[in-house]
């Protein structure tokens, strides 16, 4: 699973996507693999289920997260900010071994977990050796 160059996607696809992913944050991810699947964890603090868009198109996995609006009260005083008010976007290339029909995603406490199961044909198989 390799990082996808977002610039190339923006050029290829429609203008709406290009404007949407402009000026977005790149979320931190952990990616791990075992014999059955590849699992991706992405930190998306401030994103709720409604603001999340996980999209798979051919060989590209795209993650897009929109921050939930933080309160409606107008600011009345000074403010100090370290949290950038921007959406998240990141894309990866996924290999043919991923079973696209059974990808599962789950968002919990600002962490997105995507499980990409491997298709049966690439899983390691034990070959029984017959004596005789």
């Amino acid at each position: 699973m390799a990082e996808k160059n977002t610039q190339s996607i923006a050029r290829k696809d429609d203008a709406e996507l290009a404007s949407r992913i402009k000026d977005t944050l790149v979320p931190h991810v952990d990616i791990c693999e075992d014999k059955d699947s590849v699992t991706l964890y992405a930190d998306l603090p401030g994103v709720d289920k409604e603001g999340l868009d996980v999209h798979i198109d051919k060989d590209t996995l795209q993650l897009y997260g929109r921050r939930a609006a933080a309160g409606t009260d107008a600011k009345t005083g000074d403010s100090y900010t370290e949290m950038p008010d921007r959406d998240y976007y990141r894309a990866f290339t996924i290999g043919e071994e991923v079973d696209r029909e059974h990808i599962a995603a789950n968002l919990n406490n600002g962490v997105l977990k995507v499980v990409l199961p491997k298709s049966e044909r690439v899983k390691p198989k034990k070959i029984v050796i017959k004596c005789g």
């Binding site: 699973m1 990082e3 944050l25 790149v26 979320p27 931190h28 991810v29 952990d30 990616i31 791990c32 693999e33 075992d34 590849v38 699992t39 964890y41 930190d43 998306l44 603090p45 401030g46 994103v47 709720d48 939930a68 933080a70 309160g71 009260d73 107008a74 600011k75 009345t76 005083g77 000074d78 403010s79 100090y80 900010t81 370290e82 949290m83 950038p84 990141r90 919990n108 406490n109 600002g110 962490v111």
Partner: protein, 185 residues
Amino acid sequence: MNGSNLKRLLLNAVEAPGLAPEGGETSMALTLWKDTYPAHVLDDLKSQLDRWFGDYFTKNKPAAAAESIFSESGTLMRFPAVDIEERSNTCVVHAEIPGMHKDEIKVEYRDGYLTIRGEKKFEHEDKRKDFHRIERSYGSFQRTFEIPGEVDSEAIKAEYKNGVLEISLPLLENVKRKIKRIDVT
């Protein structure tokens, strides 16, 4: 770049004027934290360091603030990132702490200081997995902020939602800063 250059720069930064706290500003209930934090004095150092390190840190870095080894606000990157603002007589603190359980976050207010602490454990269910990338942060964290003004400490509320901790500290409206003049005899 060599060590002595960096050392000289750091010395310069420390000796730079403007570090002394400005007195007399008593009108605002919530003073801008940045003003009392010396990071803005280090702006020159920041741009120098960014130039020296250049692509080395930023090239393959997927971090939020990929443009700089510092965060956008000019301070060194800290975990968790926070927003502090004053709205309708309440000081509201937001902190980005994704992937925690609410019981693992400790929030404490004492003598005008708010402390957020916790530990994010590296707990992937299957330890035998092979990792391709580990970019998320793990480990203990603690940050403390001075909350200026009188806080109604009984009415402080904290909520953890979508990986963001929100702490509301109601400011006591009728307690204005009392200035007591002392006569010199």
